[in-house]
Symmetry: C3
Subunit: 187 residues, 3 copies
């Protein structure tokens, strides 16, 4: 076999290897999470009477609202600060494995829609570090996607998608979210 | 040709291929968006009289402010929650193709500067999904860059830069922004 | 040497090169910042008397709080908007090289914990552009990590980790943070 021919064969081989690895990477990046975690978190809004149990409080309201009752029919303009327990199952009384901390605000006059900025903060043997989230939550939809915008510790530099599902809603005081976290960038 | 010499040639070839592909990637990443979108959005602040038309409301103000009038000379400390229509042109009355939802706050005593956390939420045949933004908006500048920190649906895992331009400003009630979205990470 | 044997040798070589380069990339990505910056910023909270010097103001508080005094024992529910000078050393009176602009909120009833959304905004010969941050700040810890979620200008598309350290704290009015910014994605 001449060396030119050999070069050609090798060159093709090289192209095949590199293109197939690129395709594989793309496919993996696009659809298969490098890490997946499912949690529940529990929000109990302060209503003037439940100071001991409340995990969140209304801190801002529009001109027509107040801070012990979610405003109007869609809560437009209410801002809520929270420190909610995270559990592995849907039981409020299970041992918390971390805290969901941050805020949400109701931002639509006609229906319930929220915007979220918060972190999951872990400090257990299972997980150490934090996952940071931001995004729109049209909470009347069965599932809603927000962004994982970063992470620290075990979740160093993480990016991905978190799918939120309302698992329970009692009056205007308690709600429970199921969060399915799919990380597509892991370091 | 001896096999050692051939090995050497192939090795050089390999280096050239890999380095040129790396350079190409770098250049592409640095300056050419993988997706570009231009939209307008329209903010009508509640002033106590325009409840029907208002798309946003002041929900927080500093001790010296109130929630029906932007405070002081630079609005320092005012937090505004919004659900603004997004249009393809600069006409407030064009059919909205999505909603800009989230908040901004004025954060400087001496001049107008804001900080933004919001999403573009789309649910049309043209676009489904959301784009999440965060960043500083020194709004007296002609153009200002904020970050695209994530996306969902059609904008799955997006990252990039959004350039904001104030397209119109009427009194302290209506303003219109043009947003030039340049995504540099597309999945 | 037969050409088949040569092919085999080259193929192995190829595998070794590609795998070692991948390992190198991983290692670099995981632990060595592509850019590192250390700054201080200074927060002086408005308390009703220091209007001239204050760089921040309480704009939201829970039902039991007010906006000239941080509420209760852990400040739970207080939201603070700030425009703080950034300096290269720990002296409040050094020439600022930029501004830290955004908000933080206290989000725990039992101890001091905050959630931050803000930007470093630079417009000097040394740095032009902005760095955007978000994350949980359990401020009783000596060091806390938050996420760099994006950047513009000199910090185009940046991602990374910022380690916060409380450098000084005087009463409930002044505090100074040291911020060690480690970028792991630079464009």
């Amino acid at each position: 076999m001449g060396s030119t021919k050999l070069l050609l064969v090798l060159f093709c081989l090289l192209l095949i290897i590199s293109s197939s690895s690129a395709a594989h990477k793309k496919k993996m990046q696009a659809r298969k999470p490098c890490k997946r975690l499912v949690f529940y978190f529990h929000d109990i809004i302060y209503n003037g009477k439940n100071a001991r149990n409340a995990t969140s409080a209304i801190v801002s309201a529009p001109a027509w609202g107040n801070r012990t009752l979610l405003s109007g029919k869609s809560h437009f303009g209410d801002v809520v600060v929270f420190d909610d327990p995270i559990t592995l199952d849907n039981n409020l009384h299970s041992t918390p494995i971390g805290r969901a901390q941050g805020f949400y605000l109701y931002d639509k006059k006609e229906t319930f829609t929220a915007w979220l900025g918060f972190s999951f903060v872990f400090n257990s043997t299972a997980h150490k570090g934090s996952i940071n989230f931001a995004g729109a939550d049209p909470l009347m939809n069965k599932t809603r996607d927000i962004s994982v915008i970063g992470g620290t510790g075990d979740f160093f530099m993480a990016r991905g998608i978190a799918t939120l599902m309302t698992d329970a809603f009692e009056g205007e005081v308690y709600f429970r979210l199921c969060v399915d976290i799919k990380l597509y960038e892991c370091w």
